[in-house]
């Protein structure tokens, strides 16, 4: 067998991953990495799946690993919240890092979302 190997392009400076775990009627969606125009679709898809999941009453977005978030990320969260509201599902945010917390203050997002210091507290309130 004839093998041709291609090297990867230099690693990009950031990655973004989203993962979900369900506990009872809540879903915890954990976001890790830099959330922006290039990466947002993974979060949009995951939140849409969670919202559409019939048994779900609450979605907690675990932001502990969120190393960057701009208005594109905020838009994804706001859009999911609007959709979720229509189906009686609450969306809250946990462990928002300082930089994103300031952005939420500037944009008023801190008055739109329930914010919790950690996932456990958020789940307790759900």
């Amino acid at each position: 067998m004839n093998r041709v190997s291609a090297a990867a392009e230099p690693p990009v400076g950031s990655e973004f991953t989203v993962s979900s775990r369900r506990t009872g009627t809540s879903v915890v969606v954990a976001v890790v990495g830099e959330l922006d125009l290039d990466t947002v679709q993974a979060l949009t898809s995951e939140l849409a799946t969670a919202v559409d999941d019939r048994g779900i009453r609450a979605i907690v977005v675990d932001c502990q690993g969120l190393s960057f978030c701009d208005s594109t990320g905020l838009n994804a969260l706001l859009a999911a919240r609007l959709r979720a509201e229509g189906q009686g599902v609450a969306v809250s945010l946990a462990a928002v890092p300082a930089a994103t917390s300031r952005m939420f203050g500037i944009t008023g997002a801190d008055t739109v979302f329930q914010l919790y210091p950690d996932v456990e507290t958020a789940l307790g309130a759900a």
Binding site: A6, A8, E9, E15, S45, D52
Partner: protein, 148 residues
Amino acid sequence: MSMPDTRPPLGGLPEGGQTRRLALVGTRGVVGRCRDFTRQALQDWHWLPGVTEEQQEVAEDVLLLVSELVTNANLHAGGAVELLLHGTRERLRVEVSDGSRQQPAPRTPYQASRPGGHGLHIITRLSTAWGSEPRPTGKSVWVEVAAP
């Protein structure tokens, strides 16, 4: 013994086929890069440009399949780690490996009018076979397509 193959030879493809691998890092811009890499292989292997309409369509199907596999690895498995193409005169095999042990599973019921669940549906319809295999640090999801 089988009949002699009267199809035009697929250039660049020795007996036993050829393998090309693209290592992947991160999830940013990776889907398009994988299609570009595949497009190049399809050209070198004379699947592209397709001489007949059917050939052109099969090559386009392959690009769509690559896109679906890599997208799923990015959305559901923390990112694709490697794209592997293996072309022979008979078929093309595409493998996308990722770092998750979780298996792909078609969503049911299939709903044409709702977002979600279309990737594996497309894969099922366009490939001659597909599956998933464990790997030391995750799994790889593969599809095969018959040469046009």
